[in-house]
């Protein structure tokens, strides 16, 4: 099963982990420093003065950062739940059953990950205007499904292709209703996939900019929108503080679900992207 660790594989591992940390953490370091800086100009390596001004502003009621944080959490959570509700049955159909035109359905589901978001959203925008979904939170949640659903569906299709439907037949035969069969038999088997797919759906929704801007029409201000407006206005300290708040949920979710990410079958679905 496991290879015996050798000096070579150990040092290789060490280098890999070190590189990963460098790439993941290093870009965030200036952001963190900026959020506590007061006057940090070239060629200084560290800021001249330190200050909590940016944090005080970001966490105050007037800035609207916290309001925007709750709104973003609400939108991403809603998009995630909807993705799960649609992605689980869709993934089951793709992973477990053969049907005519299956490859076209797969391609259609994958399409949003290939086609640029701006191209997709322009068409949807005119449709949403006519049904009054533009400038609304439900409209933004719905449009977030475009990039989140492919991830959810593909992860679940990977999970279901490894799931033996005879387990469900066995449960039915032993006297379980379809609902109980799902709860006691299917759900425990696919839960790692739901967690991994849900995590990705949440993070994909969390980082949407263009789709939120177009459909929200500037009325639905999520964190990325707020962050961008501060970044373009040259307030690097406040941008740093909001940036730190912005990456926090991702890190928390990652830590909570790290255990499930190691499941090979759960990540298997990504091989198809």
């Amino acid at each position: 099963m496991l290879e015996k660790p050798t000096l070579l594989s150990n040092s290789f591992r060490f280098i890999t982990i070190a590189m990963l940390i460098t790439w993941l953490i290093m870009p965030l370091v200036p952001l963190a420093i900026w959020s506590f800086a007061k006057g940090w100009f070239f060629p200084l390596i560290l800021p001249k003065y330190w200050s909590l001004n940016a944090w005080n502003y970001a966490l105050s009621d007037t800035a609207g950062v916290l309001e925007s944080l709750w709104l973003t959490i609400f939108i991403s959570a809603s998009a995630t739940i909807l993705s799960i509700m649609i992605g689980v049955p869709a993934g089951r159909a793709l992973g477990m059953y053969k049907f005519k035109g299956k490859e076209y359905v797969e391609l259609l589901i994958l399409a949003p990950t290939i086609v640029p978001g701006i191209a997709v959203v322009l068409g949807i925008h005119s449709v949403f205007i006519s049904i009054g979904l533009t400038n609304t939170i439900p409209g933004v949640i719905l449009v977030h499904l475009i990039p989140t659903l492919p991830y959810m569906t593909l992860v679940m299709s990977g999970i279901f292709s490894n799931f033996d439907p005879d387990f469900e037949s066995q449960a039915r035969s032993l006297g379980a209703s379809p609902l109980k069969t799902f709860y006691y038999i299917t759900l425990p088997s696919i839960l790692p996939g739901i967690i991994v797919g849900g995590l990705f759906a949440f993070l994909v929704s969390w980082s949407q900019y263009i789709l939120t801007l177009m459909i929200g029409g500037g009325r639905v201000i999520t964190l990325p929108l707020l962050l961008f407006s501060f970044a373009t206005s040259g307030r690097n300290d406040i941008t740093g503080a909001i940036g730190m708040i912005y990456i926090l949920p991702g890190i928390i979710i990652l830590i909570l679900t790290a255990r499930h990410l190691s499941g090979r079958s759960a990540v298997g679905g990504f091989g198809r992207i």
């Binding site: 033996d164 005879d166 387990f167 037949s169 066995q170 449960a171 039915r172 035969s173 032993l174 006297g175 379980a176 209703s177 109980k180 006691y184 038999i185 425990p188 088997s189």
Partner: protein
């Protein structure tokens, strides 16, 4: 105790034109153990799944004690199917696996526990209730699967290849266990197998299904003594088939005239007899003694297989090694086939 009646049951899978099961009709007695025998893909498992409600039939009916069950949902049929690969729920320990059916019937926790413990004793797995399925051997998993099915006291128990995943020595144990539990609980049981020996040893009645069609439905010994056709005889290891004519309890063919038992078919037919019923050089000359030449002799340890030629025909015989030790290839011997061992198949 439930009498199962299968009437013209047919299954045509979508996209196929040939039915996978074609007009199967069987009467299965209450409390009996019946084997559905046939090579893989002959429609056996399809039949089981339709009885269990896991697959829709194309036409036909299945009744339990005269009442059709086909409109009932699988969970309400009183049928439990045990799948070939055990399918123990991997997230549950042995106790929760066995108790699953009772839990679904809302039986109280304490009673489930007591009944699980009793069931574990019955299948000879005491003190195993906290093990996880992956910690069990194949034989143990099979017994847990059996216990999980029996604990709900189904009207009908369906077993899909119950012995096929087991090692030889475990097969005997499992066979006896299935037989004993089935008899003591009196549950009408249908099992599927591709192994004719398994069917013969375990079942009260055997239904041979070939290419989706029922060939013969009878007690095990009938398949050896009175096979319905050549294919059936061959499936059970029959090797001797001689064309000829049956008239007045005699069979005339290339090998001469042989006396038949009383209830044989008249007219043109095929004479068949088991290789093990050919007697070599036995005692006083009686009816049906013919001269045959040994053309091949293969020692198989506990028995010797002989290829004999009688005029233009070649027949197979199995003899006790002692009887043929000194008889070399090429010599002519007297063989004797008792009339009761002969049978005529419709041509």
């Amino acid at each position: 105790m439930t009498h199962v009646s299968i009437k013209n049951l047919t299954k045509v899978y979508p996209g196929l034109t040939v039915p996978s099961l074609d007009n199967l009709s069987l009467e299965i007695n209450s409390g009996s153990l019946t084997a559905l025998l046939g090579p893989s893909g002959c429609g056996k498992t399809t039949t089981m799944k339709m009885i269990a409600g896991l697959l829709d039939q194309t036409s036909g009916d299945v009744t339990f004690d005269g009442t059709s069950i086909l409109k009932e949902k699988p969970e309400n049929r009183g049928v439990v199917m045990v799948f070939q690969n055990h399918l123990l729920f991997p997230y549950m320990n042995v106790q929760d696996n066995i108790g699953f059916g009772l839990k679904m019937r809302n039986v109280h926790k304490d009673e489930i526990f007591n009944r699980v413990i009793k069931m574990l004793d019955l299948v000879k797995l005491p003190n195993m209730e906290n093990r996880m399925p992956k910690e069990l051997s194949g034989g143990q998993q099979q017994r847990v699967a059996l216990a999980r099915a029996l604990i709900v006291q189904p009207r009908v128990l369906l077993l899909d290849e119950p012995l096929s995943n087991l090692d030889a020595h475990l097969r005997f144990e499992m066979r006896d266990l299935i037989r004993n539990l089935q008899q003591s609980m009196g549950i009408t049981t249908i099992f599927v197998t591709h192994d004719q020996e398994e069917a013969v040893v375990l079942a009260d009645q055997v239904a041979l299904i070939l290419d989706g069609k029922l060939k013969q439905y009878a007690q095990p010994d009938v398949f050896y003594k009175k096979p319905i056709d050549v294919v059936t005889a061959k499936f059970f290891g029959g090797q001797n088939f001689i064309k000829g004519t049956s008239k007045n309890n005699n069979f005339s063919s290339n090998i001469g005239k042989l006396a038949l038992p009383k209830d044989c078919l008249q007219g043109n037919g095929i004479l068949t007899f088991r290789p093990e019923n050919v007697q070599i050089g036995k005692g006083p000359k009686s009816v049906n003694t013919i001269k045959a030449k040994i053309i091949e002799k293969i020692f198989l340890g506990t028995q010797t297989r002989l290829k004999l030629s009688i005029k233009d025909e070649v027949i197979q015989a199995i003899a006790n090694p002692n009887e043929v030790d000194e008889k070399e290839t090429g010599i002519e011997i007297d063989i004797n086939i008792p009339p009761s061992c002969l049978w005529v198949i419709n041509n």
